[in-house]
């Protein structure tokens, strides 16, 4: 068995829409390859503007979408060979998702602990007593700075967005995955709470779980990640050590991205106030039609 946890090998995804005659092909992900090593858990940031194919890439890693060409191998299992519910369960135990909007990922009609107990039962409970599963849930919640007492009997609307996102992370931890795919996990969370969630990812990595952190927020990506992939129009334009790529970007697109970050500093604000009316032409988003 190889040492690769995740092997993304020349993966492309083409969506087509329209009828037989007016068919349009949109290349969402274009020949992307990267690996995550099993022995070195890391936080891998995937950066790009909206529409660059970040989410499609995530969905393929989570096996919610099949690649048009290329191969995805997770922990020795080719995702294309997954057919049965049992296989999917095995995969889901290894890869857990965290989504963008915590208010969308929990059903507002159900109590939060229901999700936690359900996940616990699905993945682990065959071997465990009810009492110990309660302890395991409390443990997972403690890792994210909450406790079962705070969460039980509460509905999603009773918690703030930041707390809810922590519950989502605790739920993902319960399955004891090897990889967490977090798709814009902090873009709906307040700037002041963002950091406590991002710091949490570092704790999770130190538990030995790799994280794919998808975002368009370059500042948090710089702060937290070990390695970075910059994606544009579905293909990787630059990759490498996060600090190096963001400090000294080589590709003009990366430089453009970095320069667009609005820093909470007046020194920088004076230098590049985006106040000219020129240069606002175009949609700002790439045309993905070939």
């Amino acid at each position: 068995m190889s040492d690769l946890l995740l092997d993304v090998c020349h993966v492309s995804k083409i969506f087509s829409r329209g009828g037989l005659l007016s068919r349009q092909r949109i290349t969402a992900v274009d020949d992307v390859s990267f690996q995550i090593d099993k022995r070195r858990p890391e936080i891998l940031a995937v950066i790009g503007e909206s529409g660059s194919g970040k989410t499609t890439l995530c969905r393929m890693i989570l096996n919610l979408e099949l690649p048009t060409t290329g191969r995805l191998v997770f922990d020795g299992v080719d995702l294309a060979t997954i057919r049965t519910a049992a296989d999917r369960m095995m995969l889901r135990q290894g890869v857990q998702p965290i989504f963008q909007n915590p208010f969308d990922s929990f059903n507002p009609m159900k109590r939060l602990e229901r999700y936690l107990f359900l996940t616990q039962r699905r993945f682990l409970a065959a071997t465990q007593q009810p009492a110990s599963s309660k302890a395991a849930i409390d443990d997972a919640l403690h890792q994210v700075g909450l406790s079962l007492k705070e969460v039980s009997h509460r509905y999603p609307h009773e918690l703030s967005g930041g707390q809810l996102q922590r519950v989502a992370i605790a739920r993902a931890l319960l399955a004891r995955p090897k990889l967490i795919v977090a798709d814009e996990p902090v873009s709906m969370v307040d700037a002041s709470l963002r950091l406590s969630i991002v710091n949490l990812f570092r704790t999770v990595r130190d538990l030995g779980i790799s994280i794919i952190y998808v975002t368009h927020d370059l500042a948090t990506a710089y702060y937290i990640s070990d390695r970075i992939l910059v994606i544009r129009n579905g293909s990787i334009v630059e990759s490498g050590d996060a600090k190096a790529v963001l400090k000294y970007p080589q590709h003009p697109y990366c430089r453009q991205l970095r320069d667009a970050v609005l820093l909470p500093d007046l020194a920088n604000a004076a230098a590049d106030v985006p106040i000219s009316m020129t240069g606002v032409k175009g949609t700002g988003e790439p045309d993905r039609r070939p």
Binding site: S50, S192, Y223, A260, P274, G284, E285
Partner: protein
Amino acid sequence: MHAQAVPDVPSEAVPPMLSVRDLRTYYRANRLGIKREVKAVDGISLTVRRGEIYGLAGESGSGKSTLLNCVAGAIRPPMEIVGGDIDFAFLSGYGGLHRAPPAEVARVRWRHLSYIMQGSMNVLNPLRRLRSVFVDFAYPHVGGTRQQFERQLHAHLARLNLDRSVLSAYPHELSGGMRQRATVALATVCRPDLIIADEPTTALDVLVQKEVLGMIRGIQREMGSSVLLVTHDMGVHAHVSDRLGIMYAGHLVEEAGTAEIFRNPLHPYTKHLISSLPRIGDDAPRCGLGGAPPNLADPPLGCRFHPRCPLAMKVCSGEAPAMLETAPGHRVACFAYNQSGGA
């Protein structure tokens, strides 16, 4: 840059564009005889001068959007204005849009007061082309013939560097950034005196965000309008706002020129907001604010920030600090600085 753009000394001769005095807005619920009051905005006073961008910052649930809704006159139960006045330069004597007669409201809306909303997809009708949206929103307030309006619209779009072909597109045919720029065009087509912007760039990525902000600021400078800009992103405020108000749990805790706030933040919450943000090139570890935002149905006594405050003193849990001036144009509500002469 910012400080020079707007004179820092308030001129007494010109009345401000918007003045809010001791506004209190509560959400009142009465379920099975149990009354519950959520004090979303509790005694806020602020003024927006002519030709300036006034920024409001604070976490979600601090009452920013409630304040904006009050200013825009969008009062729906259970929201209730319990006290205070809102005066506009173009509408005085009523104490707020919500108390003005409907004819006055219709006169003021869009012509004098317009609104850039957060979710452009929720503003633009998905079944109508953008031209119809512009006609629906703006035409009744402009007057003249449809041809004149169309010409005016083209000139306005040209000023914003938008192609006129967007007018014949449906919202789903445009990208998120393009839609948001269309809503900016929609809000500014009548050259209003006051524009309210509620998180106009939160859902956009960095490149588009920069464009949209440049557009808002450019058109504001050109028309000389005032803007009340709400966002929790301090980076946006540093680049766009002239003056900044920091809100926490329904109170205004600090107010000053943007440069002053960033150079010399006084309130511990403001300090936290500025220092906690990670920056590219800076490897210092940072931590989020501990604790949870207060429950506004049962806010902590005294200063509402004291349970999370690193400087909390005995007096903080007893009484609420008043908003006092520490330097010209710099007001702060914190016992550590200005109360009873001790600094």
